[in-house]
């Protein structure tokens, strides 16, 4: 085996596993990727286990248990580059809904013996604990963007991933705006990357890529209110997979 290949690691914290599965969903590129890099740590795919150091670490999942904090710092120490993968690693994920409630109450709702369960009061993205070299958004991220990010870091360049809103992609795909037909849509404030999927399937964007760069969330909220969306539902749409992303969090708190 050629030991000069760059070492790739994939780490999992609190998540559905979907982001790392995206890598395995690259059916056409997977074997070529495994030739180009040394997949040195990736528990979902291999029994091989390397201690690093790693050239690139991809992190799936949020920091949600006390022990995660030491682990993510250890990942940082052993990695040249760290990329946060998906809504959990960038914004805390759906499990960050606990940040708006009491984790002790949650524990006792789900478990008969809550004392066995270790959980932090809040679920957070990894950048709150370590320096992150790049954040790839999405629940799940687009697998082609994921391949671009891996290629870019291995080639020593910045990934070519646009930070504009879903609206831009939606216009480019020639969709009729669903807001015009009365369907509330988070497209104007949501980070691109999915290819404007929801409007293409005739539903409103539900914000699974989190906030776009400089989102005008207040104007968005007014448009929802004009469309007759009650505050309770406005809070709900802002509080899903990126509920703890600052722009979504702040806007949702305005309507509580």
């Amino acid at each position: 085996m050629n030991e000069t290949r760059p070492k790739l690691a994939v780490w999992k914290f609190a998540s559905c596993d979907g982001c790392q599965l995206s890598l395995l969903d690259l059916e056409d590129e997977l074997l070529a990727l495994a030739d180009a890099v040394d997949i040195a740590y990736f528990r979902e795919a291999t029994s091989r286990e390397s201690n690093g150091p790693f050239d690139l670490s991809l992190v799936d999942g949020s920091i949600a248990r006390p022990e995660d904090i030491d682990q993510i710092r250890e990942v940082r120490r052993r990695s040249r580059h760290v990329v946060a993968l998906g809504a959990c690693a960038t914004a805390g994920g759906i499990q960050a809904l606990r940040n708006f409630a009491s984790v002790e109450k949650y524990k006792s709702l789900v478990y008969a013996k809550p004392e066995y369960i270790h959980a932090l009061a809040e679920s957070k993205g990894i950048a709150e604990f370590i320096r992150v070299d790049f954040e790839l958004r999405g629940c799940p991220p687009n697998k082609h963007q994921l391949l671009e990010v891996v290629s870019a870091f291995l080639a020593g360049r910045r990934p070519n991933v646009a930070a504009h809103s879903v609206c831009v992609d939606c216009k480019l795909s020639g969709n009729v705006c669903v807001m015009v037909t009365g369907t509330p849509c988070l497209g104007p404030i949501t980070h691109a990357g999915c290819g404007a999927l929801c409007p293409t399937y005739r539903r409103g964007c539900y914000g699974c890529y989190g906030p776009a760069e400089a989102p005008n969330t207040q104007s968005m909220a007014r448009a929802f209110q004009h469309a007759g969306v009650p505050d309770v539902d406005l809070v709900r749409v802002l509080r899903t997979f990126n509920a703890n992303a600052p722009a979504f969090r702040k806007e949702s708190e305005r309507h509580e």
């Binding site: 914290f13 559905c16 969903d25 795919a45 949650y106 789900v110 399937y201 539903r203």
Partner: protein, 431 residues
């Protein structure tokens, strides 16, 4: 600890979905203790679902599992439809079967070729296996891609599809959009047969267990989304009686709850259970395919799960082809109904087994209470019992081989720890 005592320990199981560990303490010629520990962080879905709108639940619960999101969406949709009195029939029902078939394929193919076959051939992963069996890994990836193509076309994307809603879909595809899938689906159906013939030549440990199999059973079809809950030890009940017969208990070493049949204990759901309880619902062609490799009901060897998954993939492709060949665009993409205060039950056959959802709604459709029982939490206790049964063989093996065999036995059931936590880490301790 005396000289004959050994401990097999795996701190972080590989090639399973999520974080789990194994500990087996061997004493004399048997196992004194087996713990399948699940240290996957709990995410509290059943807690934060309270107060959400019923229409949000399919998208939210899909995030329990990136491997089988469609199963979560479908169990949630069926539960809400049960609560609201909606029946999804005709082409919309057929489209749901198509989507479900796609997910079975993507999940089973990943497991069979990439996660489990390396165990039978002695490789650490699919990448190493590809160096010597590249033809089969490439075939497996192409089969998986055919399943993914169904979910991506119908659902918008492979993971967490966006096109599913209570009552049906946001947008129904046209026949012209679906038909181009057919040639690859037909190729994949045949590739499953070839793969089955090859994998049937693997060496299978001789373990046989007297499982209580649990699966859905439908009047006419091999089960996807509908049916009564039946078992090989006499259970036959509607979904709404699930809680009366099954319970979940908490153990200190795991974040996943252990399910059991109240009157008896551990049971098994998943491909082997479906196959044994519903063999007669497979088409004559698929039954003949099973017979070709010496498989029929009953099959009680958990190591043969890999073959049963291939048979289920062939079945899924057969179903997908049939749906597309008979498809006509429905007049409306979905059926709706006003909300009402009620409780709904949904159960579908996720790739790993029965996935049960129960929701209590108020008159505006707000969730008052949610209960979700994932296949892996149902199988957890049975996986531990498999390892107890395997103990005499483990004792005959050198430590490394024993550890590998124990891990292989866990992977028989393709545990999904992300699902079960609300689940896995393998430790085999050696004194």
């Amino acid at each position: 600890m005396s000289n004959g005592d050994r401990i097999i320990r795996v701190n972080y199981l590989a090639r399973v979905e999520g974080e789990g560990s194994l500990l087996i303490k061997l004493k004399g010629d048997q196992a004194a203790e087996v713990q399948l520990g699940i240290f996957e962080p709990p995410r509290f879905f059943e807690a934060f679902l309270r107060g959400r709108a019923h229409r949000e639940v399919p998208d939210i619960t899909s995030r329990i599992c990136g491997i089988c999101p469609v199963a979560y969406m479908m169990s949630a949709c069926h539960a809400m439809e049960d609560a609201l009195g909606i029946r999804v029939t005709g082409q919309l029902r057929a489209l749901r079967r198509l989507l479900y078939a796609g997910e079975w394929v993507e999940s089973h193919a990943l497991h069979v070729f990439f996660l489990h076959a390396p165990d039978f051939l002695g490789y650490p992963d699919g990448f190493a296996m590809a160096k010597e069996h590249g033809e089969w890994i490439r075939k497996g990836l192409r089969i998986k891609k055919a399943g993914n193509a169904i979910v991506a076309l119908l659902g918008g994307r492979e993971i967490h599809p966006v096109n599913v809603r209570i009552g049906g879909f946001y947008r129904a595809p046209t026949r012209a959009e679906l038909e181009p899938l057919l040639p690859e689906l037909r190729w994949a159906r045949e590739a499953c047969t070839e793969s089955l013939m090859w994998m049937s030549t693997f060496s299978f440990p001789s373990l046989e267990r007297d499982y209580e199999f649990v699966a859905l059973r439908h009047d006419e079809e091999y089960p996807f989304c509908e049916g009564r809950v039946v078992s090989s030890k006499g259970l036959d009940l509607p979904l709404c009686e699930f809680d009366a017969h099954f319970e979940e208990e908490q153990v200190p070493y795991s974040n996943a709850l252990h399910a059991r049949v109240r009157e008896r204990g551990a049971y098994l759901c998943g491909p082997l259970a479906r196959f044994n309880l519903n063999f007669d619902r497979l088409s004559p062609e698929i039954q003949a395919l099973a017979a070709k490799v010496g498989l029929g009901a009953p099959c009680r060897n958990p190591f043969k799960n890999i073959l049963v998954r291939l048979i289920e993939m062939a079945h899924a492709f057969e179903q997908a082809i049939s749906v597309i060949e008979r498809y006509e665009l429905p007049a409306e993409p979905c059926v709706s109904a006003p909300t009402r205060a009620s409780t709904g039950f949904g159960g579908t056959e996720a790739p790993r087994g029965l996935l049960y959802h129960r929701y209590q709604l108020d008159d505006e459709g707000t969730i008052l209470d949610a209960k979700i029982v994932a296949p892996t939490s149902q199988n957890q206790k049975t996986i531990e019992e498999d390892l107890f049964a395997l103990a005499p063989e483990l004792l005959q093996l050198p430590h490394e081989d024993a550890t590998r065999r124990a891990e292989q036995a866990i992977r028989n059931h393709d545990p999904c720890i992300s699902c079960a936590t609300h689940f896995l880490k393998l430790r085999v301790e050696q004194a």
